[in-house]
Amino acid sequence: MDRSTLERLNAVRRDRKAAILVTDLASGAERLVAEESAMSDPLALELSARFRSGRSGLLAEPGQGEVFLTVHLPPPRLVMIGAVHISQALAPMARIAGFDITIIDPRTAFATEERFPDARPLAEWPQDALETAPLDGFTALAALTHDPKIDDMPLAAALAAGCFYVGALGSRKTHAKRVDRLRGMGVSEEDVARIRAPIGLAIGAQSPAEIAVSILAETISALRQRGTAA
């Protein structure tokens, strides 16, 4: 591998972007394909499938030698707005499923170490917390407080940042009002339509833990279908 390729690859990984290194095993020839330029690559279809699955592997090109695809996806992150009962169940489940988790709630009585012994919740306003850990395309955001003062700003920010999953807790009525407020903040119709509300897969969840399962399942589904719905 060329030193410049290695340096570019590491830079992409530090930026939390996805890339695939394509290596011809016979000649050692290589190319680094960033996710945004995958569609213009000769292996476009294969690459786009692997950007979703995250799986590295060999590809036998007809009439040519073997090509190895090293798939680099950033670790997926789940940002929970609200240190609420659902977050207490969702945090450990999401961590087990492989997500880096962030919990943000400016209400200091909610965001305590005692309620979240392993999650180090941030007792800050989302606009402050998200300044140090910006949202990106490999981040999911679940707004769980019901409180417009806390939920609205991160929802708009998540849509603007292209988060792969944006969900918001609340009834249809609550969500209709939220949609009006977001439109008022200048969020486009297309973006508003990306919000999953009511949040979570329809599995008939009742308890906070069951709702957490439905949110996590919907998040994983969105992660594995990134880019295909658009």
């Binding site: 591998m1 030193r3 590491n10 592997g57 670790p75 492989g98």
Partner: protein
């Protein structure tokens, strides 16, 4: 696949740091596995010109042989494909049924 949290001993970051120190660097990558293999496809091991290494392609089973091959790849500059059977003893020790095989690509970096 690089999906789980950031790793301080990330082989690709180490490879870049070693190059910056002026060391010769080879990279080994698991490209194919059959049966029970201890490390998944895409796992990396990085080796310098003096045989120091970081990372893992087999959980300790074939690293010694890979480091030896890496020295030759560094000398010749041409990549190599290696194939190993995973010893039954190792397979048993890590809780695998036994008899896995792995193919490893070794290349010079820089």
């Amino acid at each position: 696949m690089t999906l789980l949290g950031t790793d301080d001993r990330d082989p690709l970051s180490i490879a870049e740091a070693w190059l910056a120190e002026g060391r010769a660097v080879a990279l080994a990558t698991v490209v194919e596995t059959w049966g029970s293999a201890p490390r998944p496809v895409g796992s990396h091991l990085v080796v310098d010109g003096e045989g120091r290494f970081e990372g893992s392609v087999s959980g300790g089973c074939v690293e010694g042989a890979v480091v030896g091959e890496a020295a030759e790849v560094l000398a010749e500059g041409k990549p190599r494909l290696l194939e190993f059977g995973v010893a039954d003893e190792t397979a048993w020790r890590v809780g695998l049924s036994c008899g896995g095989r792995i193919r490893i690509y070794v290349e010079r970096v820089g």
